[in-house]
């Protein structure tokens, strides 16, 4: 197969010998969690969060907020296929060579699908090669017992709809036993499995403050955290109201637990770990710097 050898040689030549004067072009991509987003900048992340993080870029316009259908299974063209398409377009349009990917929740699984299955789609290799690393905010790497409950018929407070939605493919996928299967067979980076081709660094949310009398509960929107006290009954003592800490730190490396670095050691609930709460945005801003 002469093509194989030629391709390897070309790929190596392209990657191994950049001109010393050639500066990396850094960009950042925001990848949302479960849900079908059409305006994730407003509806999922908020402009305040995105605008704060991208201040760390040399060129603050080098960012993209992904909008895909993450109600689907991760391998669906509307899910990881859509994600690869939007990242590819961004990389090409902005000539990005150093891509920071910030994911939240199930968005971490979407990225991990691409990183674990680089041959699934011919667009994946170029996306992977551009990535510096992935900052996974509260990734649902080992799934959540709440997904099990929802799939088996348990209903939660309506305000948690953004989190658990209905019995979508994404919720089915994030059941703990299903994620165990995917981690053992289709995804890399969990204990006992080979490392991903790019590092994934998890930020772990450890608790929920949901009292209306606690100002900290209001960061990110009080209504989004309502009901998380009920969900805690399905979860370990260390959780962000949606995911056990063990799930959030279940793939890649743990970067930090929220209370180690957040303002006044405030925990980040699952609703807050996608918002500019307790300096999270500033940590990410530092991290995107080349």
């Amino acid at each position: 197969m002469p093509c194989t050898r030629t391709s390897i040689g070309l790929a190596l030549a392209l990657l191994v010998a950049p001109s010393p004067a050639q500066a990396a072009v850094t960009g950042v991509a925001f990848v949302h969690g479960t849900g079908k987003q059409t305006n994730a900048l407003v509806d999922y992340w908020t402009a305040a969060m995105v605008d704060s993080v991208r201040l760390g870029l040399p060129n603050t316009t080098n960012y993209v907020v992904v909008n895909c259908d993450f109600e689907k299974y991760m391998w669906d063209p509307a899910a990881a296929g859509c994600l690869a398409g939007q990242l590819s377009s961004f990389i090409k349009a902005k000539k990005i060579t150093d891509l920071l990917v910030i994911t939240h929740s199930n968005g971490g699984n979407m990225l991990r699908w691409i990183l674990s299955n680089p041959t699934y789609d011919s667009r994946y290799p170029a996306v992977i090669s551009a990535i510096r690393w992935v900052d996974a905010l509260a990734p649902s790497s080992l799934g959540t017992p709440l997904a099990n409950a929802v799939v088996s018929g348990t209903t939660f407070e309506k305000s948690l709809g953004w989190l658990l939605g209905y019995k979508s493919e994404a919720v089915i996928m994030q059941q703990t036993e299903n994620m165990a299967y995917y981690n053992a067979n289709w995804l890399l980076g969990t204990a006992g499995r080979p490392a991903l081709p790019r590092d994934l660094w998890a930020v772990v949310g450890t608790d929920v403050d949901s009292s209306p009398f606690d100002n900290d509960s209001w960061c990110g929107g009080y209504s989004l955290g309502v009901g998380l006290e009920t969900t805690q009954w399905w979860l370990d003592s260390c959780s962000d109201g949606f995911l056990n800490c063990s799930s959030q730190g279940g793939a890649g490396h743990e970067w930090f637990h929220d209370i180690e670095y957040t303002y006044e050691q405030e925990p980040l609930s699952h609703a807050q770990s996608r918002r500019n709460c307790f300096y999270l945005d500033l940590f990410l801003r530092e991290d995107v710097k080349p």
Binding site: S7, S122, T154, R193, W234, G250, H253, C277
Partner: protein, 466 residues
Amino acid sequence: MTRHPSHLSSGTASPRAAAMPHHQTRPRHDAMNRHATRPHAMNSTHLAFKTALTIALLLAASLAPEAAASPSRSLAHATPLRLEPAASPSPTLARATPLRLEPATADDLRAAAVVVSRLPSTAPVGGPVNFTWPIDQASDDLVARPAPHSAASTGHARTVDPAALRSGVTLAISSPGAFFKLSPAAREIRVTTPDGRTLRPGAGLNPVGPADDLAFTLDRDLGTGKFLLRAEADAPVRLDILERDSDLVLLIQAARDVVFVGDSLRVEARLLHRGRPVAAEQQSARLVDPDGRALTRRLTAQADGSYRVDLPVQAPAQAEPDARLWTIEVELAATIADRPVRRSATTAVAVSVPTARLTGLAHVDHHRDGLRAELELEVASDSRYAVTAVLHGRNRDGQLQPIAVGQSAAPLTPGRRHLTLAFAAATIAASGMRGPFELHDLRLVDQGRMFVLHRQARALVDRSDH
């Protein structure tokens, strides 16, 4: 909200810079790689040298000659594929060393024969892709035979109809302070304690939070026993009971997480009281396919205190297995130390149709460009197939160490076909490892149907002269 605006307006200044989680910080816990250190921010040079990522996009027709005549989709499900004569290695591997895969062990997954699938392949259209990357993991960081998921439960859930709820549903409470939750169809909830007292929301039934008026905890001093739940409802009600701190735990595990359709799946269950197996009075297991069709069987007690059942994995004639997982539900009831116990737990299994298999023939070519292993497949249904394996070499002490992950995929049509894993010489040299090389954790998947077809812990040993 007094702090929040200050966060929003914090500009470019970094708060508590000394405490900032920085790139150089060594992670405290690694899920996958205990040797990892977060690298410095990378530039493109780092990308090349730090990770030595090797990408080979096989965009041309390296496998094109194998893309033979289009397959027939009219072949019925379970039609065995006619075997063709063994294919010769591809031209570049014609002088390579012919090898055979190691014998599969009982823990490996290997199809004995291939079967045509009626299910369409849905993988993205694209040519062959080959991708390898080095890994910096110790051999004991990798588990090539992953244990199937094990589920643990200290609660149970069920759906009850309105009539049953009106006349009273028994809550088997084995641990003081239990939590229970009903779905929104329920109203006028009251619970009768074992000693005859009636509890109502706010009067013995403690609301968990303001957001959910159908979730309660019982006072711990009410103890354990059979409580009677009554409520009005116009539709079936979902009832969850969680006893988080209970010393009675149900563990369940299937023998495999992937089976081929037609196989039998063994499921084991244990009810543990303070870590020791105890006997159950009722026990059942249900295998539920993705469309909800269920097969229920009783588990049988084993000498070691566990319960076991073998479930036949059969698909209906008109419903071929697809990417969706099947569910195994186990429910046990018992009386332990005069406490009623009810537990339920679920796990999942993937059901594959063996649309292709590795024949066992391989050719390994190891020279200046690196190491390539060409694996022969017998393909029954056209799809995009991928092989993945971890290349191992030997360190100075002669011990096996992982070097790199290789993955190769291509669209393949029925017949004898090949996929080639390619590991660049630079990657091998950077690892410092020498031969004899081995391929571990070899997997074959049908990417277009999400079927896992082959999984082998120790698959290929390159015994050629180096």
